[in-house]
Amino acid sequence: MTENEHTLDPASWTEKYGDYLFHYAMMRLSDEQLASDLVQDTFLAALKSKERFKGASTEKTWLTSILKRKIIDVYRKKSRTRESAASEFGDKITDEELFRTEAPFRGHWREEKGPHSHSLMPEGEIENEELRAIIEKCIALLPPGLAAAFVMKMVDEADSGEVCKELGITASNLWVMLHRARLRMRDCIETKWQGNDR
């Protein structure tokens, strides 16, 4: 065995990676029951496909990639069929909750829904824990289709082509979904931060 080869030691998985994988899932789904179920599913799936582990990556990386797939499956199950997801997010940019619909101000920010300050929260001063809590909550409030696109692109930093393939959508669907996710994240963070602060 060379030094670069990694081996598997399933008996130690829970102790070594249980918390890490649970945290990973919580950051993306914010649901304790679901997150711990996925950790269990990940270990059992990994045991089943032990032979396919080639030792090129570490145990941790390998287990994380299995969990990642399971998280995408959850989003996919939560959102409706591909067709309806695409049409729901694909065609209409205007979001009536946020933008006015009456002429001549059609498409302009509603006064109470527009951004009110230049900064979402005071950067540098914010504690990790606070940042984590607010973003996690806001991701959990996104519609699942938007959450999937946003998390894959902004948290996992996946390539756009990969995200489109994974979610069965076109590139223009993806732009619109990310746009809609950002509108909601911005609104949610601004609201939650101000609620905390004042």
Binding site: P10, A11, W13, T14, E15, G18, D19, Y20, F22, H23, M26, M27, E32, A35, S36, V39, Q40, F43, L44, L47, I93, T94, D95, L98, F99, R106, G107, H108, W109, G114, P115, H116, S117, H118, S119, L120, M121, E123, N128, E129, L131, R132, I135, K153, M154, V155, D156, E157, S160, W175, V176, L178, H179, R182, L183, M185, R186, I189, E190
Partner: protein, 103 residues
Amino acid sequence: MTGKKEKGLMALLSRYMMSCDEASFLISRSQEERLTMKNRVRLKMHTLTCHFCRKYEQQIRQLSRMMKQYRHTCEHDSCMHRLPGDRKKQINQDVNRTLKRES
């Protein structure tokens, strides 16, 4: 009634000006890729006169930075999520039971 002159002005404006929903879409898109020259100019013209979209642009840039920070936030930290003890025990038992069955 709208006069001929006003109609002409509106047509000219609508060709170059955009609404906030389009501006915010372009702001979002600029996070992933460089906009075309035409869209960069149109967006600039919009944000010059629209304080909401000016703020939106700054907030969306900040959101991108925050998401980068979020990615690794709390790992191995006191604010890391930890698997509840009883679940951990149960998962460990499950893994070991499956292991034994296989060997």
